[in-house]
Symmetry: D2
Subunit: 258 residues, 4 copies
């Protein structure tokens, strides 16, 4: 039996005069793009350009909604009523759907950004709010969730398609949560170490925590980053290592999700 | 033969702690709502509430996109590249479509707001940009255009459904354009005068300009306002006068547009 | 010996097309205005108008900085680095100073808004960040702090002038903190009850908590509100009751602060 | 007699996760920094950092206010009431003054950004609005104006200190106005050509237009750019060429302005 996995990355996080990340290089490595929707980053012009490029590269289109916080790049936790959160997520998904319509594509996944992702991983109310937005707008959209998180729980409870996500270039704690960015070493900058981590995770279903604990987890998608200086090299090496190990790299909507 | 016309109004222009207009009263008079999309006014929470209320009242849902200018309420002209304008319009339509999905409805018309509407009425590049956004997102959406304007021209050139719009409570110049708001008397505050104007316009296809010139125009929809103190009374009297004259008031998507 | 107290209120929280509160009526009751600075509410035009009106009424000018969150009206907690918070406070104070220069006045106090005030009352890092901003911009500015809070502590540690604030129309918990808005009855809507509370607080240094506990606190300033429907009536009655009890109502910069 | 001139550049136009230009290299070449104030670019954190670095390099601090348009980077013309423009300028100056207070400096010049600068150069109402803001906030602040523009006229009419500005890396039309950016060749990318232009301008008071016409103008300050790829090299060569020609490079507040 062939093992398959998706590779996704955040995209379109520049706007106007501002550029971040090497979207063009990353688009040649990943199979699914999580596109910023103008709240924490991005703008309508950038969204339009990125859906075009994604289409050209055969990369599937997903929404990467965040808090309405350009100055903070969506990395600040904001305490909102869950129903208000729900509607800002639905809004962002809809906005991207309009852009996807330009290239005859659908938005096929949603992956929350930054602090919103972190909060939703821990907080079922937030996780459910995001899930309800997905369900209301298009119940076929895949909810990309940190494996084992409240988001995964919410997605299953709502009957949504759920993709369990691991990070290519991030360390994990013993409980399977991401090591916070402020802890030194939390971002893996050695492409070989990252490649080794993802092959182990995808092929064996195992990830080794920062403290050396063995965690068993199954993943459907791996997140790579194009904004770290070493991001593109890490992503490329991860992909090469996975393919060398016989893993098939697929678009999210083509994955068999359970 | 029965004459029919639509009544539409701007809706959802408050947000957060801010309230504007008497949406609830206006929703009982109009048949189509032009809903602010978070750029010049409104926010996702308000959009969600207004689509709900519109559904309950049997009022059809349209987008009321504007410039990204909360402080200026979208009443300041902004000089953008037409393709950038196009994408901010598509973005706003998509965002509202997501909200309409909550109540199982479609966005069935687009009417630009304020300075954007004024610019598009005069400037074919702007008018076409808005039309292209509509066409890309959903070619069944009706483009609401000032009668005889560049918008109407753009809509027809793009093969879109076009609704020719007149204003219930605004005076007109001899060339059929709206008298600018800064000219005293441009907003008709006498409900009877407004009612008389709309009946003449809808039944006879005639409007009398500020200077007394007779202008022949046919309209599909009439815009009423809920934010002027006299708006609700004017809207109600206009509707009553039209019905008394045998005119049928219809939802925009139910109108026979030519 | 004459007892004196200041009355302050939030001001200028509308902007553009949006109006909130009855600033004109409140300006005739209070002696110090806490003016929104364009982040959670307000805009440069409104700020300019309010400083003018404050000057005309002999009301002293203070800054009412908040989180950068128009949609949330600054009532959502945002988790920022304290030094980033510090600079957004300094920025807002400076912006208001520019407006005050138009009328030949100084910004003489700072009172944080909404969620920022609540967070700073509990969190010394936030409270110190606000205090450092004040100290950097103008060390003569008075730091208005919930009595007994971390803000008061921060202000004293930084050697700033501190005004201990009580609320005219809010209930208190047994520990002297404000009853959260979501608890029914937290906002006192009976003007007579509010007036009784403030006279007891100012004259006797005593406030009775929601559960009937007697709390001893001394206040320098009382906050009234103009945005609640009963706000103006409550503020007026509070002022009248204080004056009837022989209390002198003063501008914040004229108060003897300790 | 020694000829002297100032070199200034736009600074602090990144924010949050976004970086633009090589501020550190440019700070070692220029003598006055025009710092973005959070409207078209920049944020309070960036402003704080740039005033610190400017202070360390002995570079004087000026405000670079723009339209409230992050997505458009302040390069879109916005049609505002002049008095509203005035207050958004005053607001931005005040905000930067607060940051300058951290390093014990004053804001000593104001230079409008992008579309605002272009509009004010042509439109006396806009030029006067900016001048009135300067005058209200601190009448000692120098108004940096395109030479021969409406801004220069406004500055003189208001009795402000005026610095006549030329561009190091921009071509000119026969009437002495800047060649619009959209015309090919409008940005001079050859450092030697730029250096030659500025020496001729500063030493001889002559600039040669795009069409070869000789224009006589005197300048007090030259604008260099750090965001074009060739900007730093051009700025450095311009400075070196000026010094080789015996020109003294001074801070704006140290210049003898007439």
């Amino acid at each position: 039996m062939t093992i398959s996995v998706n590779l996704n990355a955040d995209m379109g996080e520049g706007f106007g005069a501002y550029h971040i990340g090497d979207d063009d290089s990353i688009l040649k490595i990943i199979r699914s793009a999580s596109i910023a929707c103008g709240f924490h980053a991005g703008d309508p012009v950038t969204m339009r350009q990125v859906v075009q490029r994604a289409k050209e590269e055969g990369v599937s289109i997903g929404a990467h909604p965040g808090f309405n916080d350009l100055w903070g790049f969506g990395r600040r936790r904001i305490d909102m009523k869950p129903e208000h959160l729900e509607y800002i997520i639905a809004y962002q998904i809809g906005a991207l759907q309009a852009m996807a319509a330009y290239v005859g594509e659908n938005v096929t996944h949603v992956k929350p950004h930054g602090a919103l992702n972190n909060m939703a991983a821990e907080n079922l109310d937030y996780a459910m709010a995001i899930g309800r937005a997905i369900k209301a707008v298009d119940r076929n959209i895949i909810y990309v969730t940190n494996f084992g998180s409240e988001m995964e729980k919410a997605g299953r409870e709502l009957g949504l398609k759920v993709a369990r996500e691991g990070y290519c270039d991030r360390q994990y704690e013993d409980d399977g949560t991401l090591t916070p960015r402020k802890i030194p070493g939390s971002v893996i900058k050695d492409p070989e170490a990252a490649a080794k981590q993802v092959v182990n995770l995808v092929v064996n279903g195992v990830i080794i925590s920062r403290n050396g604990k063995r965690i068993e987890q199954r993943v459907d998608t791996l997140c790579v980053h194009g904004d770290e200086p070493t991001g593109v090299a890490t992503a490329r090496m991860a992909r090469n290592a996975l393919e060398a190990a016989g893993v098939k790299i697929m678009r999210l909507p083509d994955m068999q999700l359970t």
